[in-house]
Symmetry: C2
Subunit: 422 residues, 2 copies
C-alpha cells in the first residue's frame, strides 16, 4: 500500500521546507530547520497525539531516506576531484589530521568521564562521531559569506575533504571493531588494520579503477541516445560503488562519496556539449527530494522525553564543548602567509549530516544484543550536531568580519567557481 507513504512524504516535505525556511530566516543552514521540524513532529506523542506514528514504521520511507543520504554524499563528492584531494597542501592535511585526532581523544575522554558504566566501544564510537566535518555545510556557509577565496577557506575546504575520508575510514574501523566484539571475537590490532586496509584499499582501488573507467564509461554512454542518459549512468555509477562499498563491509555512503569524487565535468563533456544540463543540476532535484526525508526522519527519531534526563543534557553539553575545542586544536595546524587560525578552527566545527549518519549507524550497532548507543547518548549526539551546526554560521561570519571586509559579490562568485570546478 503506497497510500500512507504518500501522506508521510507530503508531511515530511511540507515541514522540511517550512523548517528549512525558518532556519534560514534565523541565519542558520536549512538542514538545521529540517532536523528541528522532524524533532517537533516526532515528539507530538508527548502531547498525547499519535496520529503520525505510522511514519516511524514505514519501510519505504526508510529506504528513501537511505537513498537520499547516499545521493547527498554523491553530490558532496562531486564538488571535489581526486586531483584536488592530492593537491591539498600540507596545512590542509595537518588541519585534517589534528581535526580528527583531537575531537576523537576529547570525545572518548568525555564519554569515559560521564558514562563510566558504558563499554569502551561506546566511548570509541562517540569519539569517532566527533571527528566528522560536514563539507556541505562548511562549503555552503563560506559561499553564502562570499569568503570562498580566502586562504582560510581553501584550507578548510581541503581539510574538510580529507577529514571526510579519514572520518569514513574511522567509522569503518570502529564499526568493524564493534562488529568483531559482537561476534565474541576480542578486538585485535590485526583485524583493525585489515579493516583500515580494506577501507583505504577500497577508496584507492575505486579511485584508480574509477578514474581509469569513468572517462571510458561516459564516452561509451555518450553514444546512447534519448533523454536522461547522463543522469541514469551517473546514478548507476554511484549505486554500483555504494553497493561495492557495502559488499566489502563499508558504509554505502563511502562508495557514493568515492563515486562523486571520481566523476569530473570533463567525463560528461560530450553530454553538456550537446545541450544537456550539467550533472549537478540533474542530481540536485533528486537530492532535494530525498535528502530532507533523511534529515526529517533523523529528527523524528530524537526522543525529547530523554531531555528530562539531566545526564543526557550534561553529556550533550560536554560533548559539544569537546567538539568545538577539538576543532580549534585543528586550527593550529593551519600555516602559511597571513593565514589566521581562528576562522579555520571555527570553519571545521559543523558536524552536519556526516555526524548524523554516524549516530544513525551507531543506533544499528549491537554487542550481544545491547545497542552501542543508548537513547540518551544518541540524543546527546544529535544535540551536538544541532549545536555545532547552529553555532558555526554566526561565529564563522564574525571571525571573518573581524579583520577583513567581505568581497564584492561578483568577485566572490568568480573565485567560488575556481575553488569548486563545475
Amino acid at each position: 500500500m503506497i497510500g500512507p507513504t504518500l501522506l508521510a512524504l507530503t508531511i515530511i516535505l511540507a515541514v522540511a521546507k517550512f523548517g528549512g525556511s525558518l532556519a534560514i530566516r534565523f541565519g542558520q543552514p536549512a538542514v538545521l530547520g529540517e532536523l528541528v521540524a522532524g524533532l517537533v513532529i516526532g515528539n507530538l506523542t508527548l502531547l498525547g497525539w499519535h496520529g503520525l506514528d505510522f511514519i516511524e514504521g514505514d519501510a519505504t520511507l526508510g529506504a528513501l531516506a537511505q537513498l537520499g543520504v547516499i545521493l547527498l554524499l554523491f553530490e558532496v563528492g562531486l564538488e571535489s576531484t581526486p586531483r584536488q584531494m592530492l593537491s591539498v597542501g600540507l596545512p590542509a592535511l595537518a588541519v585534517a589530521c589534528l581535526g580528527v585526532a583531537a575531537p576523537f581523544a576529547l570525545g572518548y575522554g568525555v564519554s569515559a568521564w560521564l558514562q563510566p558504566g558504558a563499554t569502551w566501544y561506546a566511548h570509541l564510537f562517540i569519539g569517532a562521531t566527533l571527528t566528522a566535518t560536514s563539507v556541505g555545510i562548511t562549503a555552503r556557509v563560506l559561499r553564502d559569506m562570499g569568503q570562498a577565496d580566502s586562504p582560510e577557506a581553501r584550507i578548510i575546504l581541503g581539510a574538510a575533504v580529507v577529514d571526510d575520508v579519514l572520518g569514513l575510514v574511522i567509522l569503518a574501523a570502529v564499526s568493524g571493531i564493534i562488529a568483531a566484539a559482537d561476534h565474541g571475537v576480542p578486538a585485535k590490532v590485526g583485524p583493525v588494520l585489515w579493516i583500515i586496509a580494506k577501507a583505504v584499499g577500497f577508496l584507492i582501488g575505486s579511485m584508480v579503477l574509477g578514474v581509469w573507467l569513468a572517462p571510458r564509461l561516459f564516452k561509451t554512454a555518450a553514444r546512447l541516445r534519448g533523454g536522461g542518459v547522463l543522469l541514469g549512468i551517473a546514478l548507476a555509477f554511484c549505486f554500483i560503488l555504494a553497493w561495492a562499498a557495502d559488499a566489502v563491509g563499508l558504509a554505502p555512503i563511502v562508495g557514493a562519496f568515492a563515486a562523486g569524487l571520481i566523476l569530473e565535468a570533463a567525463h560528461y563533456k560530450p553530454f553538456t556539449e550537446r545541450g544537456e544540463y550539467a550533472l549537478e543540476q540533474l542530481i540536485h532535484p533528486v537530492t532535494a527530494f530525498l535528502a530532507p526525508v533523511f534529515f526529517v526522519l533523523m529528527g523524528f527519531s530524537v526522543d525529547l522525553g530523554t531531555f528530562a534526563d539531566p545526564h543526557a543534557l550534561l553529556l550533550a553539553g560536554a560533548l559539544t564543548l569537546a567538539a568545538v575545542v577539538g576543532k580549534q586544536v585543528a586550527g593550529l595546524g593551519a600555516f602559511g602567509p597571513g593565514v589566521r587560525r581562528l576562522p579555520v578552527g571555527i570553519g571545521m566545527i559543523p558536524r552536519g549530516e556526516v555526524g548524523l549518519i554516524f549516530a544513525n549507524i551507531g543506533l544499528g550497532l549491537h554487542i550481544a544484543g545491547v545497542p552501542i548507543l543508548d537513547t540518551s547518548a544518541f540524543t546527546a549526539i544529535v544535540i551536538v550536531v544541532m549545536l555545532t551546526t547552529m553555532v558555526t554560521p554566526p561565529v564563522l561570519s564574525w571571525s571573518f568580519r573581524r579583520s577583513r571586509p567581505a568581497l564584492p559579490e561578483d568577485r566572490a562568485e568568480a573565485i567560488k567557481e575556481s575553488v569548486e570546478p563545475e
Copy 2:
C-alpha cells in the same frame, strides 16, 4: 539492507538507458526499449540463470516504481491546464469519446470470443485497457516530427487529454465493479454510478479546490526561503492529491494527474522570477530516475514462457487489431476545415504507460482469490502495448509525410511552445 536494492537499481538504470537508446536508434520511443530490456533480463531464467531473481521480490524497488509512475503522470498532467481541457473543441471531444467506446467494445468482443471460459469481468477489464491513449508518447512523437502545429495534432493532443481522464474514470468504475464482485456483491448500476460520480466528483472537486488553492499555496510558499522550495511544495501537492485519490478508492495516479493539470506556470512565477528553474526542469530528473524503474520492472514481470501458448499469441494479435481499428473509428470523429482523419486515428493508437498501468492494476485484482487477468491475458496486454507503441511512430510519420512536408525546425519549435505552454 539497502545493498541488493542498490545493485538492482544499477542494473535497472543501465539496461533502461541501453534499451532506450537502442529503441530510439530504431525510430521507436525510449519507453519501448525499457520494456524490452526489462523483458530480457526478467526472462534470463529461461536460460537457466537465476542471478537476478532478487529483483522481483524487492519491496523498495516496487515502491520506487510506484512513485515513478505517480510522478510521470504528474509530469504529463503538467503539460496541460484545466482551461485547455475545457477549451478543447467538439472534434477533440468526439474523437475522445469514440476513442474510448470503440476500443472498449472491440476489446470486450475479442476477449469474449477468444476467452469463452473467462468471466465477463475479465472481458470488461481487457476492454477498459484498450481505451487508454498515452499522452506522453503521442506528444513526444508529434514533437519529434515537428508536426505539433497541425490541426490534426491539436485534435490528437486535446482528445488524448480527455481520453486519459475518461480512461481513468473507466478504470475506477471497472475496478470498483470487480472489487464489489470480490466481496460477493452483485454488480448493480447504483454502485457503478456511485464510483463514476466519485471519480468525476474527485476530479471536478480537486480541480475546483485545487485551482482555488494552488495560487494561494504557492504564493505563501514563495515566502519560504532556501533551496528546493518549489520542488518540495509541488511534490507535496502531487503526493497529497495522489493520497486523496487513493483514500476515496481511486488510483493514486488519478490524483497525481489532477495535481499536474492544476499547476500552471503562473502559480510558481515568483520562484522562476527569482531565478529558480521551472517546475518541469526540476521534476524531470526525478522522473528520469524513477519512471524507468517502473517500465523495466513491468517488462521484467512478462513471462516469455507463456509465448509457448499459442492462445496468448492469438489473443495478443486479435487485441492489437482491435486496439488499432478502435482508434481508427475514433479518427472519424475528427472534423474541421482541412482536417485529415487518418493521422488523427493513427496518433491515438499508442497505449503506452497508461495501458501498462491498467494491466498492472489488473494483475492485483481478484475475485474470490482468482486473479482477473491470468498470465497469458496479462502477457497479451503487454504485447498489445508494445505493438501499439512500436507501430505508431513510423506509421504516424508516414501518414503526415503523405500529404504535407515537415515544417522547418524553428517554426515547429515556436508552435510546439504555443501548444504546450511552459
